[in-house]
């Protein structure tokens, strides 16, 4: 199983983002990923959030081997042709290290659309738009034209320079709903379940496989989410207490380093090829996970 970490794009410090990426690369993580938010989620709009493609391009230039990815880029934020152009560019700058995860966004991101003058679509339309966007990206990133649909206008292409790899970067679709899992199974290279527990992950991974098999495809299940990792049970309890005092969200995996090894192993048994962690708590958690978790998870594969 590969293990990635989320970049600190809500930190407000550009140098910290590239430094973090270099640290992650140096300590053996397989990937660094960025949210695609114009305003930070679940925080006041005055809090910082870096633009994802500029950040990933800088990270790509500052690193050499690590995967750089979106998790997830919102299909409805940019015209599909521009999105493909940006993605191909970051793939080129990174020498073929991009993973492009796409999602619909949800009600939480509506305020970003409103604040930046970008139309917001209702849920059912978002699902259909996501599927068409994935089809358009697929075509464009392997050098073909996108013929156009009602929701995603035609793009002539070809995108040049093309992505580094002939077929384009791996495309993941992120989201927990049945509609999104189906889209991933029918059209994508990977599916990402963000913040979902192991049972929910296993159930969706099975569903994903069924849909993919029906279409004669293989699609990789991947996990992503917030992880609050303690050194030991006592440290974990302290971190949990502090986080609760801050009244922060609840869909957080919490446990110590040994517990994380168990959790990731069970995700892997359910088929996960990647786990991407948003490491909560103190900044030394990157080192903690690198030292206590990475090699043990790799041994199981």
């Amino acid at each position: 199983m590969k293990v990635g970490v989320m970049l600190p794009l809500f930190s407000g410090n550009a140098a910290e983002v590239t430094t973090f990426a270099r640290r992650a690369e140096g300590s053996g993580f397989d990937g660094v990923f960025g949210f695609d938010h114009l305003l930070p989620l679940r925080q006041p709009p005055e809090r910082p959030s870096f633009e994802v493609y500029a950040s990933l391009a800088a990270v790509a230039a500052a690193t050499a081997t690590i995967t750089v990815g979106t998790l997830v880029t919102r299909a409805s934020l940019r015209p599909a042709g521009l999105l493909a152009k940006m993605a191909a560019s970051v793939d080129g700058i990174s020498g073929g290290r991009l993973t492009l995860a796409v999602g619909t966004g949800d009600e939480l991101s509506k305020r970003e659309h409103d604040a930046f003058g970008i139309p917001y679509r209702e849920r059912e339309v978002r699902y259909a738009h996501l599927a068409d966007t994935v089809l358009a990206l697929r075509a464009l990133l392997r050098g073909e034209a996108w013929e156009g649909s009602e929701l995603v206008p035609a793009v002539g292409g070809p995108i040049l320079p093309p992505p580094h790899r002939p077929g384009g970067p791996p495309l993941w679709v992120g989201g927990l709903s049945e509609a999104v899992v189906r889209t991933a199974g029918r059209l994508a290279d990977g599916w990402n379940g963000w913040g979902v527990g192991e049972e929910g992950f296993a159930r969706r991974a099975l569903r994903l496989r069924a849909v993919a098999e029906e279409a004669g495809r293989i699609v990789a299940p991947t996990w992503g989410g917030i992880a609050l990792v303690g050194e030991d049970p006592a440290d974990t309890a302290r971190l949990r207490e502090r986080r609760r005092a801050g009244n922060l969200e609840s869909d957080v995996w919490t446990g110590d380093a040994d517990g994380l090894v168990g959790f990731l192993s069970r995700l892997e048994e359910a088929g996960a090829t990647w786990a991407v962690l948003l490491l909560a708590g103190p900044s030394d958690r990157l080192d903690l996970v690198a030292e206590r978790v990475l090699h043990r998870v790799r041994q199981t594969s």
Binding site: A14, L38, A54, K85
Partner: protein, 303 residues
């Protein structure tokens, strides 16, 4: 006068762009700039063009003190709110070294809009749109919401992190028409004229100053330069371009020595920047730095 370089975006080779940017910084250029085209204008669609903002972000991460800029970004390519967010993101990575050159684009760009399914505006609409885009950018850069206009929807932001400078990165408006020069005089921090002779440039600077009526706005020049080791080589380079069907009339051509004098003329005409697209062999970047920079008056970056 500062001297900048346009990066080889149409090479399609991001690694080469990064090498040129680092070299330009080492050689003492003041800035490196990128076109914003989805494919090269006037060329078949199957020619490469690197994406401007992500490429400049990589350039910013790979350099330390050279200015990085768009020359120009097309106001109508991206939703204005996204453009603002992208520009501020790039400015943050560049630690305040961004120059945001912006323009309307012109009919030669129309195939790009059509190929990418993006709306294309007519000339009058493009100019009205540019004014609103620049006003919206300036507002949200400074932390104020843009209430929305006839052509650019409301952008409340806020942009966080905000730009490095309190009012945002310098905004240059690029364009040739007197009307666009006047828009720059009223709305922007600088105007950029492409491929102009010194008399034409001087005349536009006059238009700019008159319209600005005391408001501080810089004049900047940019264009293709065919620079030879001597006049003979410059002539041969021009012949070579002609043989390849490149028949532009607005190209500067001459020896490195002549470029020195020409720069003096530009500066006298009021140019704060000259941004070159160096034609011909790749070593012209070094040639200009070696032969021209030592003979120029002390430049602001060296003062």
């Amino acid at each position: 006068m500062k001297v900048g370089l346009v990066l080889p975006m149409f090479s399609g080779d991001a690694g080469r762009v990064l090498r040129v940017a680092r070299l330009a910084e080492d050689l003492g250029y003041d800035g490196v700039f990128a076109f914003d085209h989805l494919f090269p204008p006037g060329a078949p669609r199957d020619r490469p063009s690197l994406e401007a903002f992500s490429t400049l972000a990589a350039v910013a991460a790979a350099t330390e003190h050279v200015m990085v800029g768009t020359l120009v970004t097309r106001a109508s390519l991206r939703p204005t709110g996204l453009l603002a967010k992208l520009a501020v993101g790039l400015d943050g990575i560049a630690d305040g070294r961004l120059v945001l050159g912006i323009g309307t684009g012109d009919p030669i760009d129309r195939p790009e809009h059509e190929a990418y399914g993006l709306a294309y505006l007519d000339r009058r609409e493009r100019r009205e749109h540019l004014i609103e885009v620049v006003r919206a950018l300036k507002a949200v850069f400074a932390g104020a919401p843009w209430p929305g206009g006839d052509r650019v929807p409301a952008v409340a932001g806020p942009l966080r992190p905000g730009p490095s400078l309190p009012d945002g990165p310098p905004v240059w408006i690029g364009g040739q028409a007197d009307e666009v020069v006047r828009i720059a005089a009223r709305e922007a921090d600088a105007w950029n004229g492409w491929g102009l002779s010194i008399p034409e440039f001087a005349r536009k600077v006059h238009v700019l100053r008159e319209e600005a009526a005391g408001r501080s706005v810089q004049a900047t020049w940019a264009g293709i330069a065919v620079v030879g080791r001597d006049e003979g080589e410059a002539g041969r380079m021009l012949d070579e371009r002609e043989k390849r069907g490149m028949l532009e009339t607005n190209v500067w051509a001459g020896s490195a020595e002549a470029l020195t004098w020409w720069f003096e003329g530009l500066e006298t005409a009021g140019a704060a920047w000259a941004v070159l697209v160096p034609a011909g062999p790749a070593d012209r970047i070094e040639l200009i730095a070696e032969r021209v920079f030592p003979r120029m008056r002390p430049r602001p970056s060296q003062a």
